[in-house]
């Protein structure tokens, strides 16, 4: 479990993290989402014990990171931003060093080493210098380092940043596979990641908590939530007809591809009436889609509109 309690960090007059209180439970993948410079990394650095909070505190598995830092660090696996490591070491030397620092030894330690190396597919590069590895491999080494001691809590700062789509997919699968009994906190500014990974999302900007919800709840906040969109040639007629439907609030036409989006009035369902109308008109439509809501739009709305308010 990760808990932060009014966690605050100031640099002079600038407040990087402002009274942030979040909570992640076992079995949960909590996404920490925010624009660049929102305070995600600073918050994680305080939870990891690398930075001291200006006020407030954080707990990892109940251990306060300030009064009991060693216990908190033992419970935590942490991938810092950019996956730093010792470039002059080989992968094997590096992981052995981490194992020693974590007090892993003997047969169980060796088994765990083999297991992690296998899981992250590092067998072939074990004796290569970390400096010579590609970005994706280096990230995998960083992940191996973070999970080597099989921690109950995992904190990953932008684990897929800078990876190609295949590598991103592999990292997400790995996180997914580890999620069951663990508490995982993942920071990201990629919205696709939220869908692919997280079962809860915390949005922060300028260091402040702006939203704490499931991805579905966030989507429901979108003005696109429940809207119906379709492409149809000869749309001028249908537009007028659609506007007359009592459930419809407004209609927008994409100026580029002519795709029509119909927005419902509050609480109305419009897929069926729209479909019926189109059929009655005898219009040919290639496909019709019920929108779940657009996270990017919600994200933009939350992080830009709310920003100025106290």
């Amino acid at each position: 479990m990760i808990e932060t309690d009014q966690l605050t960090r100031r640099y002079g007059r600038f407040t990087a993290v402002d009274a942030l209180s979040i909570r992640a439970e076992p079995g949960q993948v909590l996404g920490l989402l925010g624009p660049n410079g929102a305070g995600k990394t600073t918050a994680m650095r305080m939870i990891s014990g690398f930075l001291t909070p200006t006020s407030g505190t954080a707990r990892v598995c109940g251990h306060d990171v300030q009064s009991d830092p060693i216990a908190a660090k033992r419970a935590l696996g942490y991938l810092p931003e950019g996956a730093p490591s010792y470039g002059e070491m080989t992968v094997r030397e590096f992981l052995v060093f981490i194992a020693r620092m974590r007090g892993l030894k003997g047969l169980s330690g060796r088994r765990r080493f083999e297991e992690v190396v296998g899981r992250l597919q590092l067998e072939e590069v074990l004796d290569q210098c970390i400096d010579t590895l590609s970005k994706g491999l280096r990230r995998r080494v960083g992940l191996a380092q973070a999970i080597l001691h099989d921690p109950p809590v995992l904190m990953l700062d932008e684990p897929t940043d800078g990876l190609d789509p295949n590598q991103k997919h592999a990292v997400r699968q790995l996180i997914d596979a580890m999620a069951r009994e663990r508490t995982i906190l993942v920071s990201t500014h990629l919205l696709e990641e939220v869908h692919a990974l997280c079962n809860r999302v915390v949005i922060i900007a300028r260091g402040r908590l702006l939203a704490d919800a499931t991805p579905a709840e966030l989507e429901a906040r979108s003005r696109y939530h429940g809207a119906v969109s379709f492409s149809a040639p000869g749309s001028a007629v249908s537009q007028e007809m659609l506007g007359r439907l009592p459930q419809v609030a407004s209609i927008e036409v994409d100026p580029l591809d002519g795709r029509i989006t119909v927005f419902p009035r509050q609480g109305e369902r419009i897929l069926e009436p729209v479909e019926q109308l189109l059929r009655a008109q005898g219009l040919e439509i290639s496909e019709i889609q019920l929108e779940r809501g657009r996270l990017d739009e919600v994200f933009r709305h939350i992080t830009t509109v709310t920003e100025g308010q106290p």
């Binding site: 001291t52 660090k73 010792y86």
Partner: protein
């Protein structure tokens, strides 16, 4: 294995996979030899001891020890591995101690490798090997004090060059404070007590006493306390850096 041991091993290893170790060892051994035989009049003195050899050490360390210590923290801060190290379950003092011990062992190795000069002096005459051993001990302790200063100052910056210059500056001040000429110069301008007090702080006085073969508890304590104090200061600076 304790975290301190793990850090010592990692650090020592990193010296030898990079050119740092070899460059240091070659230059240290070459300079130690050259300075002893040419500047120190090793033969002309016609005495079977290693006084000229040890007399050069403070000045040799002045250049070479900051070169070893400058990277201790500055390099990690620059490369970002500091975040990794300090989020492992290790206390700041353990990390500091591990890094210091590794550097000190490394300089100790350099000293051990000067053994041919000890063989030479034993071949040429009958030196007092007890005094020579004391000289080595004093030299190693002084290197330790320099390293502790460097380890402390290396926490202040991400730039190894800055760490080098700061360390060399502090070390030269601490050396000069005990030089007879410097002491005499200030004797006229400043109160005698102050001058003597500062002179007692000098590394040089305590080193010269040990190198003469006089193992005084006060000199040993001086070096060990210096090392402890500078390392503690370094730990405090590291801690301060986390909340800055």
């Amino acid at each position: 294995m304790s975290p301190v041991q793990a850090i010592v091993r990692r650090e020592l290893r990193s010296y030898f996979v990079t050119p740092v170790a070899y460059v240091f060892l070659v230059i240290f051994l070459a300079l130690a030899g050259i300075l002893t035989f040419y500047a120190g009049d090793f033969y002309e003195r016609r005495q079977a001891d290693l006084q000229p050899f040890f007399a050069m050490h403070p000045w040799l360390y002045l250049i070479l020890v900051p070169a070893v210590s400058m990277r201790l923290w500055a390099e990690e801060a620059k490369a970002g591995s500091l975040e990794l190290l300090l989020t492992l379950p290790v206390r700041l003092w353990q990390a500091m101690l591990g890094k210091f011990v590794a550097a000190w062992l490394f300089v100790g190795l350099a000293l051990v490798l000067t053994f041919p000069i000890w063989l030479t002096v034993n071949y040429l005459g009958h030196p007092d090997n007890g005094v020579i051993l004391a000289g080595y001990l004093g030299s190693w302790l002084m290197a330790g004090a320099f390293l502790a200063i460097g380890a402390c100052l290396s926490t202040l910056t991400q730039s190894q060059v800055v760490a080098f210059i700061l360390t060399a500056l502090i070390c030269v001040l601490l050396l000069l404070a005990g030089q007879a000429q410097v002491v005499d110069f200030f004797q006229e301008a400043l109160p005698r007590r102050l001058v003597n007090g500062v002179a007692h702080l000098s590394l040089l006085r305590h080193f010269e006493a040990i190198a003469r073969g006089v193992l005084d508890v006060r000199d040993l304590a001086y070096f060990l306390l210096s090392i402890g104090a500078w390392l503690t200061a370094g730990v405090l600076l590291l801690d301060l850096r986390r909340s800055r």
